[in-house]
């Protein structure tokens, strides 16, 4: 008999579902810092152990060794805490987080920090496509290069990329900022509604309705502040791109509304 709230796997013909498990309770806590080796754990047990430490034990700092590029790690962490991954993550890492400071000493796959609400994520190496998709707040720093469509549908926060970026960066972004120090691929800022993209390298082509913006004191202050916080040295010369707002048609009325006005 399943307990209330527990979901049981009743049908799994293809053998894809991960069995229900309990937190493995293998972490050692030393001076307020918890540490565990994820080498022999599954995605589910890593996340359970992480949540046990952060939510039940109230630990403020966790170090995870050997994440081995597994998918969906540290998703939905809604606490202020510090998490360090000694290794690379797979797809969907650190999604929907609100508050934590996460340091990934390796690479991340596609869709890292999707829908991130607040906090800081620093990636020491490259990131895949769709990095920071639909991000709402916080800072995401990628020290290497990123794939395509970084910050697609971005609604806030800051994405800093120290290397190159692929095509369609900032596609349909609505708010927030991106700082890309390397070259960017075709279709930069395609169909963006608002927000700002700063580029240090060459731009292969601009997307529809993405135009160069006017540099202000506020831009200089913002860039210098972010570079100072993340220890990125002195900022290089950057180009600024914003939305041209020619695709905007919020002011045009629906046919029914037009009749009322007339």
């Amino acid at each position: 008999m399943a307990a209330v709230g527990e979901t049981r796997i009743t049908y799994d013909a293809r053998g894809l579902a991960e069995p229900i498990a309990d937190a493995p309770r293998i972490a050692t806590v030393d001076g307020g810092v918890a540490r565990f080796d994820a080498k022999d754990l599954t995605t589910r047990t890593i996340n359970l152990e992480l949540r046990r430490l952060l939510y039940e034990e109230g630990v403020k700092e966790v170090v995870v060794d050997n994440p081995q590029s597994r998918h969906s790690l540290a998703v939905g962490i809604l606490r202020r805490c510090r998490i360090t991954f000694n290794g690379s993550l797979g797809y969907f890492g650190c999604g929907i987080v609100d508050g934590p400071e996460i340091h990934i000493k390796g690479r991340v796959g596609w869709s890292a920090c999707e829908n991130m609400m607040s906090g800081v994520v620093v990636v020491d190496s490259n990131a895949g496509s769709l990095t920071g998709a639909a991000m709402r707040g916080g800072d995401l720093v990628v020290k290497g290069r990123v794939g395509a469509r970084t910050g697609i549908d971005q609604k806030g926060g800051t994405i800093i990329v120290c290397g190159d970026a692929g095509s369609m960066n900032g596609f349909m972004m609505q708010r927030g900022r991106q700082i890309i120090l390397g070259d960017v691929g075709p279709g930069l800022g395609d169909s963006m509604y608002d927000g700002t993209i700063y580029v240090g390298g060459k731009v292969k082509s601009l997307g529809i309705d993405c135009v160069p913006g006017e540099w202000t004191e506020a831009d200089t202050e913002f860039i210098e502040r972010k570079f100072r916080i993340y220890g990125l040295g002195s900022p290089p010369a950057l180009q600024k791109f914003v939305c041209g707002k020619v695709l905007y048609n919020y002011d045009s009325l629906e046919p029914a509304e037009r009749k009322l006005v007339i």
Binding site: Q68, G90, N126, S129, G166, S167
Partner: protein, 311 residues
């Protein structure tokens, strides 16, 4: 969705690619549990041809005459090979319906393939001096066990786990595809091609044969057509970016090259790892980590990239 993987060793020596490819593909089972396929390159001892063919599909209805028909068709294949002047060394029964035959032959491979495929339900899965395509239903470990890939050593390999979206779940619809009638050329693909029917009609008029309704088969046949005109693998792959529409990441292999191409949207994932010893690529980094025990530096190729490596 589908998952693809490739591995090529730079030293040209033989490595246990059968076991390694299974580990890569099994780790991506969640990307496609319907069928699994391998294109493995291991040079046979005498430099003979190896043909892999099937005489029924894994899920063909097993009627009363099924076994009898398999026996007759197998005999028919062997006698047709003999009639063409092929000197058959060995015929191995991998499963009741899939066979591996090694032979010496000096004539045209197209004629030989056509004569074998003229037998009802027969399909030549691969033909070449080092290429062997193994594909069947189920996950990687199931296919590995069924076809006994434990001892398979070779220089390079590609593999595919399939989540069927556009055509049936059967061996004919499973990847990799052999580039009929080119010896030692095979392709795996993740994506959808939107101008499939255009190219299928066009290539059929040019005399190419299609064994499935899977869009990925187009890529293999297209590359074969281009190479027939004298293009190198790299040139043919570059041209395919212009001529094939849709979203795709595909890996193509020949007897000593392995190449990957991405569409102009970079819509399908691929993670690439290069070291002094080997090049490994897969839809997910987790598959590459099955081969390499330490933290590695990998990246995603960008849109419209074509990369080719030699063994």
């Amino acid at each position: 969705m589908c998952g693809i993987a490739g591995i090529i060793y730079r030293d040209g020596a033989k490595h246990p690619i059968g076991v390694e490819m299974t580990r890569m593909l099994q780790s991506m089972k969640h990307r496609g549990p319907d069928s699994t396929g391998y294109a493995l390159y291991g040079a046979p001892p005498q430099g003979e041809f190896v043909m892999r063919f099937k005489l029924a599909d894994a899920n063909t209805p097993r009627d009363f005459e099924f076994e009898d028909r398999l026996r007759r068709h197998r005999y028919e294949v062997e006698s047709r090979l003999a009639a063409l002047g092929a000197r058959v060394h060995v015929v191995e029964e991998e499963t009741p319906y899939a066979f591996r035959v090694g032979f010496d032959f000096d004539g045209g491979l197209k004629l030989l393939t056509d004569l074998v495929e003229d037998i009802p339900e027969a399909e030549v899965l691969s033909l070449g001096r080092s290429l062997e395509i193994v594909k069947d239903l189920g996950d990687a470990e199931t296919v590995h066990r069924q076809y006994g890939l434990d001892d398979f050593t070779g220089t390079h390999a590609i593999g595919h786990v399939r989540m069927a979206t556009e055509s049936e779940v059967d061996i004919a619809g499973a990847h990799p595809y052999w580039a009929y009638p080119y010896s030692d050329v095979a392709v795996v693909h993740n994506g959808q091609l939107t101008n499939y029917f255009y190219w299928r009609r066009r290539l059929e008029r040019a005399g190419r044969r299609f064994m499935s309704e899977c869009d990925s088969e187009i890529i293999a046949v297209y590359l074969a057509e281009e190479m027939d005109k004298g293009s190198s693998l790299s040139d043919a792959m570059h041209r395919s970016l212009e001529e094939l529409d849709g979203v795709f990441t595909y890996i193509a292999v020949t007897k000593d090259e392995l190449g990957v191409a991405k569409d102009e949207l970079a819509a399908k994932p691929l993670v690439l790892y290069e070291s002094d010893e080997l090049v490994a690529l897969a839809s997910e980094e987790i598959a590459i980590r099955q081969l390499v025990d330490h933290e590695i530096e990998t990246y995603d190729p960008y849109e419209r990239e074509v990369l080719v490596w030699q063994r």
